[in-house]
Symmetry: C2
Subunit: 154 residues, 2 copies
Amino acid sequence: MSFDLDATATARLRSAGQRYTTQRRQLIELLADAGSPVSIPDILAGGSGLKQSSVYRNLAALEQAGVVRRLVTDEEFGRYELAEDLIGHHHHLVCSRCGKMRDVDVPQDLERTLERALDRIAKRAGFARVSHRLDLLGLCADCAAEVGTDTTRA
Amino acid sequence: MSFDLDATATARLRSAGQRYTTQRRQLIELLADAGSPVSIPDILAGGSGLKQSSVYRNLAALEQAGVVRRLVTDEEFGRYELAEDLIGHHHHLVCSRCGKMRDVDVPQDLERTLERALDRIAKRAGFARVSHRLDLLGLCADCAAEVGTDTTRA
DNA sequence: CTTCCTGCAAAAGTTTTGCATTAAC
DNA sequence: GTTAATGCAAAACTTTTGCAGGAAG
């Protein structure tokens, strides 16, 4: 984990009146190492020994402190990544079969075009716009291969 | 409800081996009338008398038949709208405070630009691309007004 | 030493399921 | 008539919470 990340996490937690405990450091490390969004079942099953209620509470604390972000997925459980200002604005490739997510960047100029257009649209709709969310939905290479073979979900 | 919609729903359900019952017609009507995504609590509380388990089962059946679509939100419950090929490709304005969603169109040319760029990105990532999802997150006019006044969620 | 965090177990929320009855075809 | 849909209640699942004990500052 980079020194910056550690220091930033400490600072943000402190200013939210919270401590940078071993478990929280562990969670942040885990998310940083994964490099793509991680689900709570993954975390709980991951041999880290982290306890269910603590994971939920700590992710909530880290989210409130602005260190992590909870993503919205079509799965039935939560998925988290480091906050956008820590890892940069990006989007996700989502596999509609296995649910796995992968980070992806879109070209700068498309991003700018998008921003401008969305600002106009939001303004017209009386919306105080904060951000956008753009996901690509499809089949990851693994699932595309399996779909040819098996019938789990034609 | 338009004649087309009714006929389409019947056809799609039949070819999935399912019946077009009163409740299913009611749900489709409800979604069509709403004109924006409707949550399951909304449906259950809406005086329709529809029962919880039936609503869940019928929305699942309708989704599998390709008549409705379940949306992904940051709320803790499901939200549905009519299938995209019935109401057209569009995106959503989402209020991060009250969760309400509103349909919104983006300009044709932006949509095309986006499509082309995303196809390239998906291909590069080894993804068999199916579609994209673009949401605008912000504060709806109502919530923007209230935030000035109250402190529920600064 | 004071405050917050942790863990266990139990509760709360949404969604799913078993089974007898009713409706669709 | 046969098969699928409905309603009720109970289960399953993720997430939240109460409370006693332990760690952080």
